[in-house]
Amino acid sequence: MSRTFPADSVGLVTPQSAHFDEPLELDCGRRLPAYDLVFETYGELNRERSNAVLVCHALSGNHHAAGYHADDERKPGWWDKCIGPGKPIDTNRFFVVCPNNLGGCHGSTGPTAVNPDTGRIYGADFPIVTTRDWCRSQRRLGERLGIRCWAAVVGGSLGGMQVLQWAIDYPDQIKHAVVIAAAPRLSAQNIAFNEVARQAILSDPDFRAGHYAADGKLPRRGLALARMLGHITYLSDGAMREKFGRELREGKLSFNYDVEFEVESYLRYQGQSFVERFDANTYLLMTKALDYFDPAAEHGGDLATTLRAVEARSLVIAFTSDWRFPPQRSREMVKGLIDANKEVSYAEITSTLGHDAFLMDSPQYMRVLGNYLSRVAAEAGT
């Protein structure tokens, strides 16, 4: 019997794939001879092809942003709260495209794919890609789908940085940029957390210099540790206190190093389940892409000069309890856009949920995003 999905769900979705034969020159100086991008789409492209919205995913995200892959799938896509009929990214009005980034591990060409030059799995040989490389590859996907100009490019966290890169690199191909819980570049503290995560993976004996797949191994402990660390930075102190407090699983101290506190149990579960769905080389690569992201570097660190290229109008959103990419970092982008005389709005959402708030559906967040995108849709003629 087939399941009934909620009325505001896009329902059952099937990932698609596009193959590109034309080589892609990468920022690192290497080139990918050919690649695949796996992606999902929701809604219909209108006749004018003016209603396309590109959704960029975060560090551990993928192309499955909304809906369900199967009747028995427990959880919908990662941004299902935002994407669907009548939701802020309204699939009754928009044609939504969400690709898995190059270097990913869910179908787009990445470290888990076979290197055509050697016939073996890329593993550690897969080149480090950057946000600019992602934009380049996604631009080709847009062309393939017949989209000359995106009505909006939307993303949170690493996805938000990609949105900014899109607005800078292809100013005439994006009408609106929606940058959520992001930063114009990482701070030393951000890079430090990424480095500890990488060291956790790199120092796992099963990592085998990145060629664990060839040896039939998985750096489980390292990848799980990296994810546990990441999770701490996604939550706020207050959110953790509220969610776990100092609750003990057994109700009493057991004076050993097994799981005692609920928060330990949570982190271990998050780490272990992540290993089942994510590739360690991809994790390394994604954290590097984050560290390298710094569009203003080409202009001596001057963000306003960098943003002069932008033609899109922008909406920047930050969350008060986000300490990974705090509001101050979003305001840097806003200031840069204002100094460059660009149209921009900025909303600072009160939230106790930390960085993860960008994936939730708090009323003010949904209202601001919905109001903004509703205007985008009206402009696009839908």
């Binding site: 149209e343 921009v344 109001n371």
Partner: protein, 200 residues
């Protein structure tokens, strides 16, 4: 729907095609009006979440910000006008904000309720109670107004800062002018509107 009368007067003070920063822009009415009638580009600063959402809905550029933190995200002389309507009396340090207004804007436009209006004087002087009026609708315990001032007070502040008053308009609640208000602004005016600049 007609424009709030003080906003109508202010609109007449703004050169078409200029760049405006509106402090405490509310639901974006003034900026939307200036955009639609005078090709004015600009941004509003607003702290209230519902107003921020309303501005976004109206297509007005809004920056969620607390005026008490100043205008440090804005560079010197980057706006033709910095406008602040009916917000002077709710900020922590109106004097410092006036400095900020004229640092960021070439001209400043400031409006506030005149606390020395005769009805207020009667209520306080004879009735012995804090004034509640059309312009000051809240009781003392619930009012957001923490720095109410009079026309005379404000002009003393401007003199002390050596600011130039380019235009002054003193009006009643319905924003009508009268001879009486021209002659005795501090007694008969309910709302004061100023256009200011630094003396060169």
């Amino acid at each position: 729907m007609s424009l709030r009368p003080d906003l109508d007067i202010i609109s007449g003070w703004i050169e078409p095609g200029s760049r405006v920063l509106d402090l405490g822009c509310g639901d974006g009415t003034l900026l939307a009006h200036l955009r639609d009638t005078r090709r004015v580009a600009g941004y509003g600063l607003e702290i209230d979440p519902a107003n921020v959402a309303a501005c976004v809905k109206a297509g007005v550029n809004v920056i969620q910000a607390d005026l008490d933190k100043g205008l440090r995200d804005f560079e010197d002389a980057t706006f033709d006008y910095v406008v602040m309507t009916q917000a002077l009396q709710v900020v922590q340090r109106p004097d410092r904000l006036v400095d900020e207004i004229l640092r960021v804007g070439r001209q400043g436009v400031v409006t506030f309720p005149n606390f020395a209006h005769w009805r207020n004087r009667l209520q306080l002087g004879l009735g012995g109670t804090m004034p509640v009026s059309r312009c000051l609708p809240n009781e003392w315990f619930e009012t957001p107004n923490i720095h109410l001032c009079t026309v005379s007070d404000f002009e003393r502040l401007c003199r002390g800062k050596d600011l130039q008053v380019l235009t002054r308009s003193v009006v009643d609640y319905s924003h009508r002018r009268s001879l009486g208000m021209r002659l005795f602004p501090n007694l008969l005016g309910e709302i004061a509107l100023y256009k200011l600049a630094l003396r060169r």
